[in-house]
C-alpha cells in the first residue's frame, strides 16, 4: 500500500486508460488526478504539485507528452517531480527513449511499455516517491 498522502497526476488522451489507472492507483492508496490532454495536464500539475506524474508520450492533443515533459523540466518549481513515461511505441518503431540524454528534450525517470505490468509500475512508483 502506498503513502496515502502521495498524489499522482496521470496525463493521457485515452479516457478508458485514465479511468482504469486511476482505479488501480486509488485502490493502492494514492490520491489521483487525471488530465486528458497536454495543456490540461500542465495546468493540473502546476495547480496540484503532485508527487509523481504518469505521462502518455504519444498524445495527439494540444501537445504531446514530450512537450509536457519539456515544460515540466524547464519549470524550476516542477522540474524535480518524478515522471514515468508510458508508451506503446518503444519496441515497434525502434525508439530508444532512454538513449536521449538531452534534458531539454525529454527526460522521464522511467519508461513503461504498454500493456503496462501493473505490479512493476507500482514498485517503480514507490521507488520514485521518496
Amino acid at each position: 500500500m502506498g503513502n496515502t498522502s502521495s498524489k499522482i497526476v496521470i496525463v493521457d488522451d485515452n479516457t478508458d486508460y485514465l479511468f482504469t489507472m486511476k482505479t488501480f492507483l486509488t485502490r493502492n492508496g494514492f490520491e489521483v488526478e487525471t488530465a486528458h490532454d497536454g495543456q490540461t495536464g500542465i495546468d493540473l500539475i502546476r495547480k496540484e504539485h503532485p508527487d509523481l506524474i504518469l505521462l502518455d508520450v504519444m498524445m495527439e492533443t494540444t501537445f504531446s507528452g514530450f512537450e509536457v515533459c519539456r515544460q515540466i523540466r524547464n519549470d524550476s518549481e516542477l522540474k524535480n517531480i518524478p515522471i514515468i513515461g508510458i508508451t506503446g511505441m518503444e519496441d515497434e518503431l525502434g525508439l530508444k527513449f532512454d538513449e536521449y540524454d538531452d534534458a531539454d528534450y525529454f527526460s522521464p525517470d522511467a519508461f513503461f511499455d504498454k500493456p503496462v505490468d501493473k505490479d512493476a509500475l507500482l514498485k517503480k512508483i514507490k521507488d520514485l516517491i521518496v
Partner: protein, 361 residues
C-alpha cells in the same frame, strides 16, 4: 555454344550490342557533352543529343548537376555511382542508378567518361512497399498493444468491482472490455480486407438498406459513448448493383472514425454523428457521414488517405481509411471530405446509380 552461333555473335558490331542494352549508355567529354549515345537513349531523348550537354538532355537544365558521378570520375579517375531521377517528355519519372567510369588515352589521361544509367524503379517501388509493410506492422502492433492495455485495464476494473461488490464499477470495466473487443474485431476485419485485392461482388441491393443496417450496428455503441447517432435515409434512392459487404465496411469505418473523433473531442458537451443516404444528382447517389467533433487541420486532411496515416494517436492505425479508399476505388466512386477545425467533418462518398465510372467534374 556452337561454332555457327559463335560466328553469328562475331557478326554483331560493338555498337549494335551497346544499342541492344536495356539501359542508357553514353560517353561524355570533359565539358559533359555527349559524344556517343546508345539507341535507347536516342529513342527516349531524340537523335539530336550528340554534342549537347548531359544535364541539358537528361535534366533539361542549363547548369551542371550538384552531384555528378562523371565530374567525380574526371577528378579521381575512379568509378562513381549515384542515384538520379530522370523525367521523360511523356511525363514518366524514372528512378535510375548511374555508373560512371573513366576512358583513358594512350598515356593514361582521362579524356572521356562512359556513363550507364539503369532504371531501378521496380526495385525502388518494392523497397517502398517493404518500408510501408514494416511501418504497417509496427503501427498495428502499437494498436494491438493499446487494445491489450484496454482489455487488461477493463478486466482489472471488473475484478475490483466484484471484489468490492460494486456492480457499477464492474459495469464500467466490462464496457471497457467490450469496447476493446469491438476494436480488435474491427482491426482484424480491416487487416483481412486489406491483405489482398478483391473484386466487389455486386448484387442489386438498396443503398438505403445497406446504410440503415450499417448505421444500426453502431446505435448501441454510439449510445454507450454518449453520442447521438442519426440516420437520415431517403427511401427514393433506387436499388443499384453494389457489393453490400464492402459498402457496409466502408460506411462502418467512416462511422467508427466519426464516433472516435467525437469521443476524443472534449471541447463540446453534445456530440452527434449523422449518416445520410440520398441522391447526389440525377445520376448519382451518396453516403454521408457527418460529425460535430473537432474537425481536421490541413496536414491531417492532406494525409488522410495515405497508408497508415492516423491522427488518432493511441487509437488508430490509418488502416480503416485505407480500406475505405480501396472500396470506393473498387466501386468506381469518389470521396469528398469537408472539414473545419473545431466545427466537424463530413465524409461524402458518391457513386453512380448505373454503376458506371464517375464523370463528375
Amino acid at each position: 555454344m556452337s561454332s555457327s552461333n559463335n560466328s553469328g555473335l562475331m557478326d554483331l558490331t560493338f555498337k549494335s550490342i551497346i544499342d541492344a542494352l536495356p539501359c542508357y549508355v553514353m560517353i561524355q567529354d570533359l565539358d559533359f557533352n555527349i559524344l556517343f549515345a546508345n539507341q535507347k537513349l536516342k529513342i527516349d531523348f531524340g537523335d539530336d543529343i550528340i554534342d549537347v550537354s548531359c544535364y541539358s538532355v537528361l535534366k533539361d537544365s542549363h547548369h551542371q548537376c550538384s552531384e555528378c558521378p562523371v565530374k567525380e570520375t574526371f577528378k579521381d579517375k575512379k568509378v562513381h555511382i549515384s542515384e538520379e531521377t530522370i523525367h521523360l517528355s511523356d511525363g514518366t519519372v524514372n528512378e535510375m542508378i548511374a555508373y560512371s567510369a573513366p576512358l583513358f588515352d594512350a598515356v593514361g589521361n582521362v579524356t572521356a567518361c562512359i556513363k550507364l544509367l539503369v532504371n531501378v524503379g521496380t526495385v525502388k517501388n518494392t523497397h517502398k512497399e517493404l518500408v510501408t509493410l514494416g511501418q504497417s506492422i509496427a503501427l498495428l502492433s502499437h494498436d494491438i498493444k493499446n487494445i491489450l492495455e484496454g482489455l487488461q485495464g477493463g478486466a482489472y476494473v471488473v475484478e475490483a468491482g466484484i471484489k468490492d461488490e460494486d456492480m457499477e464499477l464492474s459495469g464500467r470495466g466490462w464496457n471497457i472490455v467490450k469496447k476493446n473487443i469491438t476494436e480488435i474485431t474491427r482491426i482484424t476485419q480491416n487487416i483481412l480486407y486489406s491483405a489482398k485485392e478483391r473484386k466487389p461482388r455486386r448484387q442489386t441491393v438498396s443503398p438505403v438498406d445497406v446504410g440503415r443496417h450499417t448505421g444500426q450496428l453502431f446505435e448501441e455503441k454510439a449510445s454507450s459513448m454518449g453520442i447521438q447517432l442519426l440516420l437520415q435515409l431517403n427511401p427514393k434512392v433506387p436499388r443499384v448493383k453494389l457489393d453490400s459487404t464492402g459498402i457496409s465496411r466502408m460506411l462502418g469505418n467512416l462511422i467508427w472514425n466519426s464516433l472516435q473523433a467525437c469521443q476524443k473531442n472534449t471541447e463540446k458537451n453534445k456530440h452527434m454523428v449523422c449518416v445520410r443516404v440520398d441522391h447526389y444528382d440525377n445520376y448519382h447517389f451518396m453516403y454521408e457521414v457527418e460529425d460535430n467533433a473537432g474537425g481536421m487541420d490541413k496536414k491531417t486532411r492532406q494525409n488522410l488517405f495515405k497508408e497508415f496515416f492516423s491522427s488518432k494517436g493511441d487509437s488508430g492505425t490509418g488502416l480503416g481509411l485505407m480500406v475505405v479508399e480501396r472500396i470506393i476505388r473498387n466501386h468506381h466512386g469518389r470521396i469528398e471530405v469537408l472539414t473545419k477545425p473545431d466545427k466537424g467533418s463530413l465524409f461524402r462518398v458518391i457513386f453512380r446509380l448505373d454503376n458506371k465510372k464517375l464523370d463528375l467534374k
